[in-house]
């Protein structure tokens, strides 16, 4: 059966991220798209963040598992301590082979695993956070024709991650959380 193509959005966030995820996903409707959230966090809050998101979005929220085939209408939360990647834009892979000194999950690892695939619409978003995770991923995404977004400075609690993404010169849009939400919804609506 021919694959109809997917809308896939990968969101990277670190310090201050949960507050911004609230603003993006509160009352977010069920839509035919796949969202992957790469939030830097200790493993003891994976489940509580999943439950919090599930409490206010219409999407199905789950903690990603190795080997899962992505399903529309789902938000996958990358578990702590693993690099989440997508195989051929469809299958979730989790690897615990984490480079020393690097944070896991990693927005770079997730974004850099995306490939150009006919019929797919792909986007990457870098939100507030310390460090520079997501910048290399945004450059990669731009090189394969994806849509790239960073959170604006006015609403970023910590500037360094979205700023690092912006400084790559590969960011298409610099937006507030509410505008990021609108753009994700528009993207899904136009992918028919």
């Amino acid at each position: 059966m021919k694959d109809a193509g997917r809308t896939i959005v990968i969101i990277g966030a670190s310090t201050g991220g949960p507050r911004i995820l609230d603003r993006i996903f509160r009352d977010f409707p069920y839509m035919d798209l796949v969202i992957i959230i790469v939030q830097h966090m200790p493993d003891h809050i994976n489940l509580s963040l999943k439950d919090k998101l599930a409490g206010y979005t219409g999407m199905n929220v789950r903690i990603a598992e190795d080997g899962e085939i992505i399903e529309n209408g789902s938000i996958y939360l990358a578990p702590s301590g693993y690099y989440l990647t997508l195989e051929n834009n469809r299958i979730i892979r989790l690897s615990s082979d984490v480079k020393s000194g690097y944070v896991a999950p990693s927005a770079d690892a997730a974004l850099q695993s995306l490939v150009r695939r006919e019929g797919d619409s792909i986007a990457g978003v870098v939100l507030t956070g310390m460090g520079f995770d997501g910048a290399a991923g945004i450059s990669h995404l731009k090189s394969i024709g994806g849509l790239t977004i960073s959170q604006n400075m006015e609403t970023s609690i910590i500037h360094s991650m979205p700023m690092a993404a912006f400084e790559t010169g590969c960011v298409d849009y610099v937006l507030s959380p509410e505008k990021i939400r609108d753009m994700i919804i528009e993207m899904a609506r136009h992918h028919k």
């Binding site: 310090t15 201050g16 830097h40 919090k52 944070v103 910590i158 700023m163």
Partner: protein, 133 residues
């Protein structure tokens, strides 16, 4: 630590004024507030307490600073029931190197001075992330 309110916060700050203000904001809202005036005292309070709540951590403190205290909290395994937020006058630590390897433990960042409504809302949101027993 005795069982009490299920809404617990710890304020770690060498400035007594900040500790008092945080107490005055949160206690009327039903929070149990524990104060520590140094990183060392924070660790002493956490030891064996099974603390479950939000830890508001100042960065610049004499002796053990906030980053070092967080590293020690993680190393000693005291972080398992808590969510840590920096509460600091440093507006953006982006240029500092100190966050390396602990970024995933610093869930939020609240700058001083703060409005009482703002800090109440932020901490209430963080309470949702405290894992269940």
């Amino acid at each position: 630590m005795q069982a009490g309110s299920d809404k617990k916060i710890m304020i770690v700050d060498d400035d007594p004024y900040v500790r008092v203000v945080v107490k005055e904001i949160f206690e009327p809202e039903g929070f149990e507030v524990v104060s520590a005036e140094s990183g060392q005292q924070c660790l002493e309070i956490l030891e064996g307490s099974g603390f479950r709540g939000v830890i508001l951590m100042d960065i610049m403190m004499p002796g053990m600073d906030g980053w070092e205290t967080i590293r020690e909290i993680i190393r000693r395994g005291y972080a398992k029931g808590s969510v840590i937020a920096m509460l600091t006058a440093v507006e953006d630590p982006g240029e500092l190197e100190d966050w390396r390897n602990i970024t995933e433990y610093v869930i939020d960042y609240i700058t001083k001075p703060f409005e009482s409504d703002e800090i109440l809302n932020n901490v209430s949101d963080l309470m949702d992330l405290i894992p269940e027993n």
